[in-house]
């Protein structure tokens, strides 16, 4: 390492100092008060041993979901996103030399379009929550109104993010209740909140309580002219009707489940799709199909006039760096599992959840499932002890428990949201049930 003297000499600079002569003395600092550098070997060793204390799903089955899920990832996904041509490239400003990532992202958009039944998909938002934030502001751009309806039962973090996105344009967030028996949305309450002022209505399928709402297919009638924003778990779309078929204007969702590890919740993948007619109002980068001068099919970033680097303060969003690599992972994942595989995974998730919720319900003192609706891969249960205490007990048994609901849905204090996916073997369920039984 060290400075290359020959370069200094060639440009007639006598020392590095000279190159920083424009930094006023008054703002200078004397180096960085950080430890000396380590060799690569030491760095890897240090981090490995620091993180060694993390409990991982390699050792402990995890029954926690709430937005991020432990799914199986085919090895080939890693193979593809480890291709350095992809992961060391920038946002493809020079399309001619970047057809690879452009096509991969266009294919991602196409996969999501197929899943959601929408025409226009962007090449990613940061995550499902910020996608929701941007969806709310887009609704406002669409119809100029300023009230946005969201479910009462929703992750508080997502709500908080949404409020921050709504703050700027002054959008008011209003909640509608859920049906305490089915876990579906309360159609009555929703209808009562509808008015001329409503800009958009947000629904989740499956919802935060794990329930697949049976009234959704006809939701359009209830919300009239308001924009319909649907939040999806893309894996569930292997079996569920695409929101495009029941009138969605915008579909958002968390795409982590499509081939990305949990990574303590980041990077994630914000899915954002809309109808063709709204395309110029949508946030985020989009890849379009085009041709080169030889008439060959080609791809490039397009509709950039919506974007910050051209429209500046009038842009539809400030997004610049997004989660492109996770979008490539999602495309690869979907291509690998394919049409039938995705449906199969969805079914296995439903089956696993159904069996687990029933078994939990058979344990003394546990109420499970709490809701009567159809479930995807999560369900609410009520344990005989405080959820936090239950999780501590489970952790001692090397099991990562569920999500206590008090913070998210205060009405459901004392309840817990459990998730199960295809990665759980019968033994994992059994072990979990044995550990639960110890507190019943």
């Amino acid at each position: 390492m060290g400075i290359d003297r020959s370069m200094l000499d060639e440009i007639g600079i006598s020392n590095i100092e000279e190159l920083f002569s424009d930094v006023p003395i008054g703002v200078r600092v004397d180096g960085l008060n950080l430890p000396n550098g380590l060799s690569e070997m030491e760095v890897v060793e240090r981090i490995q041993s620091m993180l060694g204390s993390n409990l991982t799903t390699d050792d402990c089955p995890c029954f926690c979901g709430g937005g991020v899920y432990h799914h199986f990832i085919p090895s080939a996904v890693k193979t593809i996103i480890s291709r350095s041509e992809f992961y060391t490239s920038y946002t493809p400003y020079q399309a001619e030399i970047s057809q690879g990532i452009l096509q991969a992202l266009f294919e991602y958009q196409s996969f999501i379009a197929a899943l959601t039944g929408m025409d226009a998909v962007n090449s990613s938002n940061y995550d499902g929550a910020t996608a929701l934030g941007e969806a709310a502001t887009m609704c406002h751009r669409l119809n100029g109104k300023r009230k946005f309806l969201v479910p009462e039962a929703m992750s508080w973090e997502k709500k908080s993010v949404l409020r921050n996105y709504a703050w700027g344009p002054g959008i008011e967030i209003v909640e509608y209740a859920f049906d305490t028996s089915t876990g579906e949305l309360s159609a009555e309450d929703l209808r009562s909140k509808m008015s001329e002022e409503i800009s958009g209505v947000y629904i989740e399928v499956p919802n935060f309580l794990g329930v697949i709402d049976s009234q959704i297919a006809s939701i359009r009638e209830d919300i009239k002219d308001a924009a319909l924003v649907v939040g999806v778990n893309p894996i569930s779309l292997g079996i569920l009707k695409p929101p495009g078929e029941y009138g969605a204007d915008i579909v958002i969702g968390e795409g982590q489940v499509l081939g990305s590890p949990m990574n303590l919740g980041g990077p994630l993948l914000g899915i954002f799709a809309t109808r063709q007619e709204h395309v110029r109002k949508m946030p985020g980068r989009v890849i379009g199909l085009t041709k080169d001068v030889e008439g060959e099919r080609a791809f490039c970033m397009t509709l950039q006039t919506r974007e910050q680097h051209i429209r500046r303060s009038k842009a539809t969003s400030n997004i610049c760096t997004n989660e492109a690599l996770m979008a490539v992972a999602a495309a690869t994942y979907l291509a690998l599992v394919g049409r039938d595989g995705l449906r199969k995974i969805a079914e296995v998730n439903i089956g696993k959840a159904r069996s687990l919720m029933k078994s939990v319900g058979e344990l003394d003192g546990f109420v499970s499932p709490v809701f009567t609706g159809y479930h995807f891969n999560e369900f609410v249960m009520k344990p005989p002890i405080e959820p936090e205490g239950l999780n501590k007990h489970l952790l001692r048994k090397s099991i990562i428990g569920g999500l206590p609901l008090d913070k998210h849905v205060p009405r459901l204090g004392g309840h817990m949201l459990l998730a199960t996916t295809e990665v759980h073997r019968r033994e994992d369920h059994e072990r979990f049930l044995r550990a639960l039984a110890e507190v019943s």
Binding site: V43, T56, C62, E107, V293, A315, C320, R339
Partner: protein
């Protein structure tokens, strides 16, 4: 001579084969989902792993990354990112942990984030850092919300944010998203902030002034102290866009320059490759007075254990669901460990040396507007080429691709005509920079026809962006719809080719005429 790979351009949707994906066997569910909600078809392919891997492997070869060569995209800091960062960020202890796990079960992760925050405090000269934002622009947005909360808390109603016209587009966009009115102030004749203009732009309505220093011309704002006086004098906050931190580490820092809020672009300075567009991470650092407003949770250390503090009444809440892009944070942490304080400083020094080295070698050939000394990047103008040969910056950029060299950022900042914004970074060798200089000089002498019709050696030739924008085809589904509307269906022979493109071949002739025929 360089030549990029080229494979068949079929879409994955056009490929054929039979899936070999399997799940463990399970009983059938007769009533998996409500009848009204069942899907009847899903139009995605079902292919064997072999075809999928081949497809994306070959696509990757039609993409150029830093690992393939020089990528001096100004403002983007496309340096080489060491591979140990890949190793540590994909450890099971990083990948396989759930964000809702109990604090006790993720002590290592919390410690890493805690220490990273501390290191960023030192690098940025700030007193607290949140790692939550997902990218630079997201950091800016967070910073703007912090400013908003700060003034709301003080009971002041400041509705404006002032930004230089040379600023990155995300700055005004982020301020606007947070609900501020944006005032852009023009630069002075030196390419720097015009102090008078700034003075008259700020008022008791101003919430913040956002700049990056060195600015997007690569020029260090020597008047930064005056700027701070003016801005703070008006009671406004000073926001530092840290995308250009790579230029000044160990020499100065935003805190020392009196900034109140700063965001870091970990994916520019700290060992995160750009992933073809992301993910990155955009932590935000603040001075003490802004700390109460930072997003929750804060990572705290108590009795040797690490915990999460949600009890922050003035916090803006959350800007994203969990802790930020953790896997990216691990990369940054490993990089800081590897480099150490001295190493980071040296990185900045080398980045600045590289930039000045290349600038010196090029300034005789192209115009270098404004002053001489630059930091990590510099902007030259190919105006003369345009005047003399009708060759635009865009053409030069495309021609560079033919040499296996990525183009610089072009047409930015907009106050330089026909701008090429070059950021060589510290990881490139003299040999590489010399080659780039030689090629640029060579291009300046090349047949304009050859340049205007470039690129010739990439997997696609010059691309029709107008068409893309006009048609706005963003998915295979939408492509198929348009195809049906137009009624031209692919015949057997040209399956896999874009009939849509063919059908508009007429439009293209004019385009071809304009750029000249291909000169391979």
């Amino acid at each position: 001579m360089y030549r990029q790979a080229r494979y068949d351009r079929k879409m994955i949707f056009e490929k054929e084969g039979e899936t070999d994906f399997a799940m463990p066997i399970q009983e059938e569910l007769s009533d998996a989902v409500p009848k009204t909600m069942i899907r009847d078809r899903l139009e995605i392919p079902s292919l064997p792993e072999r075809e999928v891997v081949k497809h994306y492997t070959n696509l990757s070869q039609m993409n150029f990354g830093v690992d393939n060569g020089f990528y001096p995209l100004g403002s983007c800091t496309m340096k080489y990112n060491p591979k140990y960062a890949d190793t540590v960020s994909s450890l099971p202890a990083v990948a396989n942990i759930h964000p809702y796990q109990a604090e006790d079960s993720i002590q290592g992760a919390l410690q890493l984030m805690y220490e990273l925050e501390k290191a960023l405090c030192e690098i940025g000269g700030v007193e607290a850092v949140t790692l939550q934002p997902a990218a630079g622009a997201h950091g800016e947005f967070t910073g703007m919300l912090l400013a908003k909360a700060f003034f709301a808390h003080k009971g002041e109603n400041r509705t404006e944010v002032v930004i230089p016209d040379t600023a990155h587009g995300t700055n005004p966009a982020s301020a606007a998203m947070a609900g501020f009115n944006v005032t852009e102030v023009p630069s002075s004749a030196t390419g720097c902030v015009d102090l008078d203009a700034l003075q008259s732009a700020v008022s008791e309505n101003t919430a913040a002034f956002m700049i990056t220093n060195p600015n997007t011309l690569g020029i260090f704002e020597e008047d930064v102290q005056r700027i701070a006086e003016i801005v703070h004098g008006a009671g406004a906050l000073l926001y530092y866009d840290g995308a250009n931190l790579n230029a000044v580490m160990g020499w100065t820092n935003p805190g020392k320059m009196d900034f109140d809020i700063v965001h870091f672009n970990l994916h520019k300075t700290f060992a995160t490759p750009h992933g073809g567009g992301g993910p990155g991470a955009g932590p935000v650092g603040v001075k003490k007075h802004i700390e109460p407003f930072l997003p929750v949770p804060r990572i705290v250390r108590k009795n040797g254990r690490f915990g999460l503090d949600y009890d922050r009444p003035d916090s803006i809440g959350k800007v994203r669901p969990f802790f930020g892009n953790f896997a990216v944070l691990v990369r940054a942490y490993s990089y800081i460990l590897r480099m150490g304080g001295d190493g980071l400083k040296e990185a900045s020094e080398k980045a600045v040396l590289s930039s000045n080295y290349m600038k010196e070698k090029l300034k005789g050939v192209f115009d270098l507007p404004f002053k001489d000394l630059r930091k990590h990047e510099f902007v030259i103008s190919t105006k003369k080429l345009k005047e003399q040969k009708d060759v635009r910056a865009l053409d030069v950029a495309k021609r560079l691709l033919d040499y296996g060299l990525h183009a610089p950022t072009i047409y930015f900042p907009s106050l330089v005509e026909e701008a090429l914004m070059i950021e060589p970074t510290e990881t490139e060798t003299k040999e590489t920079m010399d080659q780039y200089v030689d090629v640029l000089k060579k291009i300046a002498d090349e047949n304009p026809m050859l340049i205007r019709s470039a690129p010739h050696n990439t997997s696609a030739r010059r691309i029709d962006e107008v068409y893309a924008a006009k048609e706005a085809i963003l998915s295979w589904r939408s492509f198929k719809k348009k195809e049906n509307e137009r009624g031209d269906r692919p015949s057997e022979e040209d399956k896999g080719e874009c009939t849509l493109c063919r059908s508009i071949v007429g439009d293209m002739d004019s385009l071809k005429k304009r750029i000249g025929r291909s000169v391979d």
